[in-house]
Symmetry: C2
Subunit: 407 residues, 2 copies
């Protein structure tokens, strides 16, 4: 089987490397040789062992020997048009492009099915962690109810530095950039957009109907302070950025937000650039997947696993997909009840003995004018009312607010 690669950046280079070094085991699993026939990239790579570069997409599109193409160029354009043309011409496409899957996945999966080829995207969520394939194979016998997890390594690295090393958000971000874990423009990571796209893909696949990432409420970690981290530690908890989705009777919930997890929660111990994804089904209970969520070789290994799958299924598209989105299907996350952590300016006196509230203070003069409470279980809506009401919480300035995830 001959393959094409579109985009020879970090992931594309990793695919090239893995195909070369693991040729033998890939052949054993596929039953045939897998070789790279063409690589599309506008740049020159004079030092690459590969000599099959092209700058013209048509060289891949029109190469009848190429049966599957790895789209690892990222972004919507021209990846969207290229992918569409490839699928319509009877070539399977595998991708790490979460942006494209989140935006046009419904259409691309439909085109793939109509043309009896596959559109696979194991690498779009969780890097090297197998999560997409288990959702449509191993866990297929379950009614899945909840999926939530740490889906972005950059923000998890920053939070880990804040929790373990006492670094400020700014210093931790700078450190992440120096280590190459964060982009020069870190917006997509720290504002939660990357987590949000992955959450929408998981929700669409697990629950069978498209969820548009642009409609999912999304909050990043830029407002998290060292004080929040310290208060959470006071009650044995840690702050993680989570993508959360769950099925309800009449639709699904989905959101991205910082969340406070108890220290004994399986996701609480997942540090640095690692990802962890928790899946709950009616039969199997909780299952967690853990590993490196990014990086050249882990992501390339996921891309390659999709290629192997296509080769093994030659002549038949691998059926996965979801129904188009519909109005009202994505439910209002503010109606989901939870306990909330609030950091408040002022004196904690009026919370003394208030039923359902736990009150926390930090030692040290600099924390004298503030405190934190954990509220009883309320909806986000109700919490907003409480915050506005002078008699409830409205007499305090809110310095921080984070949802608790209990289990």
């Amino acid at each position: 089987m001959k393959i094409g690669i579109m985009g020879f950046g970090v992931v594309g280079g990793g695919v090239g490397e893995l195909v070369a070094t693991n040729a033998e085991s890939i052949k054993r699993r596929c039953g045939e040789d897998v070789t790279i026939a063409k690589i599309l990239d506008l740049r020159d790579f004079p030092d690459s062992p590969y000599k099959c570069f092209t700058k013209d997409f048509n060289d891949i599109l029109n190469d009848e020997e190429i049966g599957v193409v790895a789209e690892v160029m990222g972004g919507i354009n021209p990846a969207y048009q290229f992918t569409k043309q490839l699928l319509m011409s009877g070539k399977s496409v595998v991708t790490s492009n979460k942006e494209l899957v989140a935006k046009h996945g419904t259409e691309l999966l439909k085109i793939a099915a109509e043309n009896n080829v596959s559109y696979l995207f194991e690498a779009s969520v969780g890097g090297g962690i197998p999560i997409i394939r288990p959702l449509y194979t191993s866990l297929a016998a379950n009614e899945l109810t909840d999926i939530y997890g740490i889906l972005n390594g950059t923000t998890n690295y920053i939070l880990t530095q804040m929790i373990k090393e006492g670094a400020t958000f700014e210093d931790a971000l700078k450190g992440a950039q120096q280590k190459g874990y964060a982009e020069k423009d870190p917006t997509a990571d720290i504002e939660g957009h990357d987590t949000c796209r992955k959450t929408a893909i998981l929700a669409s696949l697990a629950f069978g109907t498209y969820v548009d990432s642009e409609e999912v409420p999304c909050e990043g970690i830029t407002k998290i302070t060292l004080e929040d981290v310290k208060y959470a530690a006071k009650f044995g908890s840690v702050i993680k950025l989570l993508g959360i989705t769950s099925r309800a009777e009449n639709g699904v919930y989905a959101m991205v937000c910082p969340a406070i997890l108890p220290g004994e929660h399986p996701l609480a111990g997942i540090d640095d650039v690692f990802n962890g994804i928790m899946v709950r089904g009616d039969g199997l209970g909780d299952v967690m997947f853990y590993g490196r969520g990014a990086g050249a070789l882990p992501t390339a290994s996921a891309v390659l696993s999709d290629i192997v799958d296509v080769v093994k299924h030659k002549g038949a598209g691998i059926s996965l997909g979801w129904e188009p989105g519909k109005d009202g299907y994505l439910l209002d996350a503010e109606t989901l009840p939870a306990r909330f952590y609030l950091r408040l300016k002022g004196s904690a006196d009026s919370f003394a003995g208030k039923p359902g509230y736990s009150v926390y203070t930090l030692d040290g003069e600099k924390y004298a004018g503030e405190f934190a409470v954990v509220t009883p279980e309320v909806t986000g809506q109700r919490l907003c009312e409480m915050i506005a009401d002078k008699n409830e919480l409205g007499s305090y300035d809110i310095l921080g607010k984070i949802r608790l995830v209990a289990e």
Copy 2:
């Protein structure tokens, strides 16, 4: 698609329950209805909603409508003969029977391939955790190097009770039996045999050549004492029963033994009846799978995922398998270097300042006559020599000995 079930015990009952409750989602994933046509069991189940029981295996074998049979009866006989006959008659078989897969998997997989049907065993390792399928699909593009994990919920529950509650081994075992986590005869669990079969299955599948579980060195947890647990806590570690296998140039290593893990190791936090399996590949780094390793519904959900896979691949066997075993392929685990924890009777004086050794003592009069050391990295062979040598360790009685797993 019509299915048969052989054995209507805990797992078989779970399969029946899941097929009924999740009929709709199973149909969505398979593209067709899945219904139970015959259930083989010698017992009567007058209260079951199913009315298709039989006591005669031939009723399943000769039912031409049945395309796949769930063998969830356990044990070698008659499951082995039944499975063989079913595969030879062109029916796929899916199973939770780790004993049978570990013993006759090579032959049964070969018969399945010859007859263009499938023999699948996702439920044989890790209960509801998807681990078998990722090994031959998602991780297929990797050269896998190491697999190790907590594969038995009963022993993990017992060890957790010892670590967290200070229960003795005997009390923890009794508690596990009361809760239904341990059998009346707990030998297979506490002596490590169950972990050993699962380890051999993982090694065979991941590295491509059969490993006979009966040749894998196997030590259970019956010798672990509360003192060992306390010494391990002294250096921030916990004791877990691990199945370990790794690939070397000229063969594989495999063993089952209690191991001391540092507290920050991802497996260290896996408590109670949960399982965790760590897989290391050259491309993806470390990936961990976590979930309930046993129980009716988790295991049934894995059995059912195999059934769904068979239905989706109708007309084509799902190719997996391994080469027959060969002499010398299983390497001597005693040649694998590690640091070891030793609990010794006597005074620690002669270890003061001994290079490479760390010395630990417990407070309290009852521990006055003993201490523990962690040795430098040595092979098991070399350790035996050291223990025999009067000038090294031979002047001490060995009260306990446990391998350390660093990462």
